[in-house]
């Protein structure tokens, strides 16, 4: 019977230490180093995003700190007079009536198509009328007077607050006298739904918009100088003298 000779394992003894080290390195690499590396790369990625966020926030803070709050408030208030937050039909009525009388025209009819007077939170049931992409409502009026006064009135109505624009004009004339029908549109714009979000970028006012502001800043405001006519209603109070 032939007995096979066992391999001499003592020759492999020298590879035991390096082998154990390599196995340990692989194991520790899998169990410790890999999660650490993953978290390290995630952290770096996160850090890059954080730096971007910090840059945006710093820029926003710098821009906002550059504004003079009082001046900005005054400008915003004026912009709200030009473009009110809601349909300010009494003011429009007062303004149109005042301009008609100040231009020696005789008003025979005035209709304001206000539409629905829903609050901001209410769901609009009808489609909001828009001109130039801005919500508006129309005013129709009939009047008579002189042709030159009509032209002056047309110039005045488009340079008076709140912002109004001529939509349609028709008139018949006899010499210098006219009988005119006019349709105007008055604009309004509801307040922004959300204000002051930290993650929103500040969009600065452009030079063209600044020019527009300076242009409308020249517009005439009749607010305070004009009022609705006082109409008595009901019985007279017998206790007042």
């Amino acid at each position: 019977m032939k007995i096979s000779k066992l391999p001499d394992l003592s020759q492999l003894k020298v590879f035991l230490f390096p082998g154990v080290v390599v196995v340990l390195i692989i194991l520790s690499g899998m169990l410790v180093l890999k999660p650490q590396l993953t978290s390290f790369f995630d952290l770096r990625k996160d850090l890059a995003e954080q730096k971007k966020e910090l840059a945006a926030l710093s820029q926003k803070v710098a821009v906002l700190e550059g504004y003079d709050l009082n001046e900005l408030q005054n400008r915003a208030n004026f912009a709200l007079k030009v473009l009110p937050a809601e349909k300010d039909s009494p003011l429009v009525l007062v303004t149109v009536r005042s301009l008609i009388y100040s231009h020696n025209l005789i008003l025979s009819d005035l209709t304001i198509d206000v539409g629905s007077l829903a609050s901001e939170s209410a769901e609009p049931t009808t489609k909001i009328e828009e001109k130039e992409g801005v919500p508006s409502f129309s005013i129709s009026l009939s009047f008579s007077g002189a042709l030159t006064d009509l032209y002056d009135f047309l110039t005045a109505i488009e340079s008076t607050l709140p912002l109004m624009r001529l939509e349609e004009l028709s008139f018949s004339r006899e010499g210098h006298s006219i009988e005119a029908n006019l349709e105007l549109v008055s604009y309004y714009l509801t307040l922004p739904q959300s204000l002051g979000k930290t993650d929103r970028q500040i969009v600065p006012v452009t030079s063209e918009e600044e020019e527009i502001y300076l242009e409308v800043n020249q517009y005439l405001s009749l607010e305070g100088g004009a009022s609705l006519p006082y109409v008595t209603s009901g019985k007279e109070n017998p206790f007042t003298f």
Binding site: V14, F17, S28, L57, A79, L83, Y151, L163, L189, R200
Partner: protein
């Protein structure tokens, strides 16, 4: 004679090679451990640096957010102002012909024998004029002026919609005009 010789040094030479290999293996293993440890140390320490930087940036972000909270009013007003101006820009900068300017322009074409009695105006530049001319010559003068304005490019089109002659020689007429260049005559 036996010419074969026994090399007694051979086993020592093999043993030296093995020793060298063993030594190299040990040295390589030690270097591997050192490099691995250095690598691990570098990754961990760099991770700590990044973590610290992450914390610092986060602190700065929180600081900026606190500042922004105090600037919330300014931001809201700025946003409101910007919103108004954007809309005003659309309305004010819209190319709309000025009615009074153009109607004066058409008036300047009318001679003493012709009167414009009815005007209809749309901001899109569509104008309807109706009037009365004392005779055909006055009317043709007026139409000639309109033709010149069309040739100059101020008016896109002018169409005589109707002209009715009365027994006394006067004419009632109506015209449809399309303005081409916005406020060209201003």
């Amino acid at each position: 004679m036996v010419d074969k010789s026994i090399n007694l040094l051979q086993p020592d030479q093999i043993s030296l090679g093995e020793k060298k290999r063993t030594h190299l293996l040990k040295l390589g293993t030690i270097f591997l451990i050192v490099f691995y440890c250095l690598g691990v140390l570098a990754i961990f320490s760099f991770g700590l640096v990044v973590q610290r930087e992450h914390q610092l940036v986060q602190e700065k972000i929180n600081l900026q957010k606190t500042k922004l909270t105090s600037l919330e009013k300014t931001e809201s007003i700025q946003f409101l102002f910007k919103q108004r101006l954007s809309s005003l820009f659309k309305i004010v900068k819209a190319d709309r012909p000025m009615a009074e300017e153009w109607l004066n322009y058409f008036d300047s074409f009318a001679n003493e024998g012709l009167s414009l009695e009815g005007v209809s105006w749309l901001p899109t530049g569509q104008v309807s004029l109706s009037g009365m001319a004392g005779n055909a010559l006055y009317l043709s003068d007026f139409l000639e002026n309109l033709k010149k304005a069309t040739a100059e490019g101020k008016i896109a089109q002018s169409v005589l919609a109707s002209a009715t002659r009365h027994a006394e020689g006067t004419y009632d007429f109506s015209l449809e005009i399309n303005i081409k260049e916005i406020n060209e005559n201003q």
